[in-house]
Amino acid sequence: MIGILSLSFLGLFLGLLLGYAAKVFAVEADSVAVELAEMMPGTNCGQCGLAGCTAAAEALVRGEAPATVCPGGGVALAQAIAAKLGIALSLDGLEDPGPQVATVAEEICIGCGKCLKGCATDAIVGAAKQIHGVLDEACTGCGGCMDLCPTGAIVLRPLPQQLKDWNWAKPAFA
């Protein structure tokens, strides 16, 4: 009986202590990091080599990652990050092939369904033993599915150029 009581009391006391400590010593998330994470694609694809978008945002705030950390976001995101953090931006390291999407080579696809389960945005449709397809508008081009595919049937290709997306090249000034 004494044992039960003392253990219960100890548990209660430690629980309260922990609850109190969590309130008092709460670590506020860095507001800049939160804002940066908002700007990121948010799919936690891991192409940057860090543990997801939030981790990348924190690394950026600590100055451990360059503004070009996110390959998925491309030049536009790099520029936005550099402007936000007030840092100089060197685009040399970042080759921007423009938006990319995954495509399934239908003649190699065996319909195993591994890519389907691994896709962060549910961009791949299909069923077991059926050829899979990719929804262009939902694919972020993170390439996560390429590693999952046992037959190497998935490749990235640039988003097909459409009339409404076409733009004039920058003109040569004097």
């Binding site: 948010g42 076409w166 003109p171």
Partner: protein
């Protein structure tokens, strides 16, 4: 329009010393014979593309619906002649990119059989909503070049209770004279179209702005509108870009349309004279918008002039009809200031195409750009009161946000700044590029938000599935335990 402007005339814009409109404008209208094939594009307007309602192999008649409107802002397209549908799919668009868009190709049978004509009730005795519905069904869009569908525009006018219709007969682009031709040859139709549109929108009066370099059109329109007090013909100074809706509204009414807003917010609605003529033909004669007057002009053209051509005719066929003196150095759809350079002549015309220019090498000679000397000529010329030199400096540096902050969005791309620039800087080209970059970024942002939503939905789904699995497992365990307990109890008895 300030007091000083009232005395001195408008201060913005440019006045090309030779507008190249004549002699083409004075040649009587010619009717083009039906060519062997026509390509009727599905997207000839602002908004969603039309959806085909015919199939390959179908026989179609003149005026028959080929594709119906999709959504509120859209317009149907109709067959310009009789024939057989041979393809529905991509053709090269009349656009500098040379990229394809979808079109319905018709092999014409040369008989030009029309749909049986139906009895048309007097549109002025119909309810405004019914008039608007008929305008929508005829596929009428703004023929001045902006190609906004006319029916939703009329509805917008009704919603904002506009008082005045501004009818745009400015046609300020050099070389072009299709609106001039419509007003000279079909003034009665234009005036009747204005009356129908006034009925549809509920506007009490209409002001027809015509540049004073078209005296014949002004005289013809005055004669046609003589018995209608609500329609006033107002000559305006010939000054490019007078045909831009904002500029014309300001000159005629003194009201300035706020940045980013439509003209309806200041109580006026702008429609082109050719659009009014098309409305007359649709509501009085049941003729859908499947042909229009196109100016074919330029130094390489043998017999320049205005041609009534089916919509969707290949530019090549149109040029063959008027004849070429030499191989054109550049083909342009629209005017020389705001038109689109064409990749080649194997592209179809569209509803918004008021002119095809085949320009000679001498006409497109372009001096090399030299550094900006900050003379400010572009600032005086800009009809929107922008600072083109400042915007261009930012675009040059790749600072698109800076360009945006300088109100790049208000730029009409009229080309006045580039026209007057003594350094021959590619100003409009730079602005087009910057607008495209900003648009691309906005699209990328939208895409990112969409995929982020998908990723969050997936995470939530995976969590829910895990929870449900755990709950199901717990339930099964409890059931098994209860079963075992019951068995144990039964065994004990």
């Amino acid at each position: 329009m300030g007091f000083l402007d009232k005395i001195t005339g408008v201060s913005w814009g440019v006045h090309p010393h030779d507008d190249h409109k004549r002699p083409a404008a004075d040649v009587p209208l010619r009717v083009m014979p039906i060519p062997a094939t026509l390509c009727v594009p599905l997207l000839q307007h602002v908004g969603a593309p039309a959806k085909p309602v015919v199939a390959v192999g179908d026989k179609v008649l003149r005026g028959q619906l080929l594709a119906s409107a999709q959504g509120n802002v859209s317009a149907p397209v109709h067959a310009p002649t009789s024939g057989v549908v041979t393809a529905i799919g991509p053709v090269i668009a009349p656009h500098p990119s040379g990229l394809p868009f979808d079109a319905i190709t018709i092999a014409c049978d040369g008989e030009d059989q029309a749909l049986p004509a139906s009895e048309m009730p007097d549109p002025l005795s119909l309810a405004p909503d019914e008039v608007t519905r008929q305008i929508a069904a005829a596929g009428i869009v703004g023929l001045g070049g902006a190609t906004f569908p006319s029916a939703p525009k009329a509805q917008l006018g009704r919603k904002h209770a506009v008082e005045t219709l501004i009818i745009n007969g400015g046609e300020c682009e050099p070389y072009l004279s299709s609106d001039d031709c419509v007003m000279r040859a079909r003034a009665v139709e234009v005036v009747d179209g204005i009356r129908i549109l006034m009925h549809a929108t509920g506007a009490a009066s209409a002001l027809v702005g015509i540049e004073d370099n078209k005296p014949e059109a002004i005289a013809a329109m005055r004669a046609a509108a003589k018995s209608f007090d609500a329609i006033r013909i107002c000559p305006v100074p010939a000054r490019y870009p007078m045909g831009s809706d904002r500029q014309l509204v300001e000159v005629l009414t003194g009201k300035q349309v706020p940045a980013g807003a439509r003209t309806a917010t200041v109580g006026v609605l702008v429609n082109n004279v050719s659009t009014c003529a098309a409305i007359h033909r649709a509501l009085r004669h049941g003729e859908s918008l499947y042909r229009r007057i196109v100016t074919v002009n330029g130094g390489a053209v043998m017999d320049p002039g205005n041609v009534l051509a089916p919509i969707g005719v290949m530019v090549e066929d149109l040029l063959a009809f008027v004849g070429l003196k030499e191989t054109p150095a550049r083909l342009v759809m629209g005017g020389p200031m705001m038109g689109a350079a064409l990749p080649h002549a194997l592209v179809p015309t569209v509803k918004g195409c008021g002119g095809i220019l085949a320009l000679s090498a001498a006409e497109i000679a372009k001096p090399e750009p030299s550094p900006c000397i900050r003379c400010g000529s572009c600032v005086s010329a800009c009809p929107m009161g922008l600072l083109p030199l400042e915007i261009a400096a930012r675009v040059k540096a790749g600072d698109y946000d800076g360009a945006d902050a300088q109100k790049l969005d208000d730029c009409l791309a009229c080309g006045c700044c580039a026209y007057v620039c003594p350094s021959h800087l590619p100003l409009v080209h730079a602005f087009y590029h910057a607008k495209g970059e900003l648009w691309k970024r906005a699209q990328q942002k939208k895409r990112n938000e969409f995929t982020k939503g998908l990723a969050q939905a997936r995470t939530a789904r995976l969590e829910r599935e895990a929870r449900e699995r755990a709950e199901a497992a717990a339930r099964r365990k409890a059931e098994r335990a209860a079963q075992q307990a019951a068995q144990a109890a039964a065994a004990a008895e």
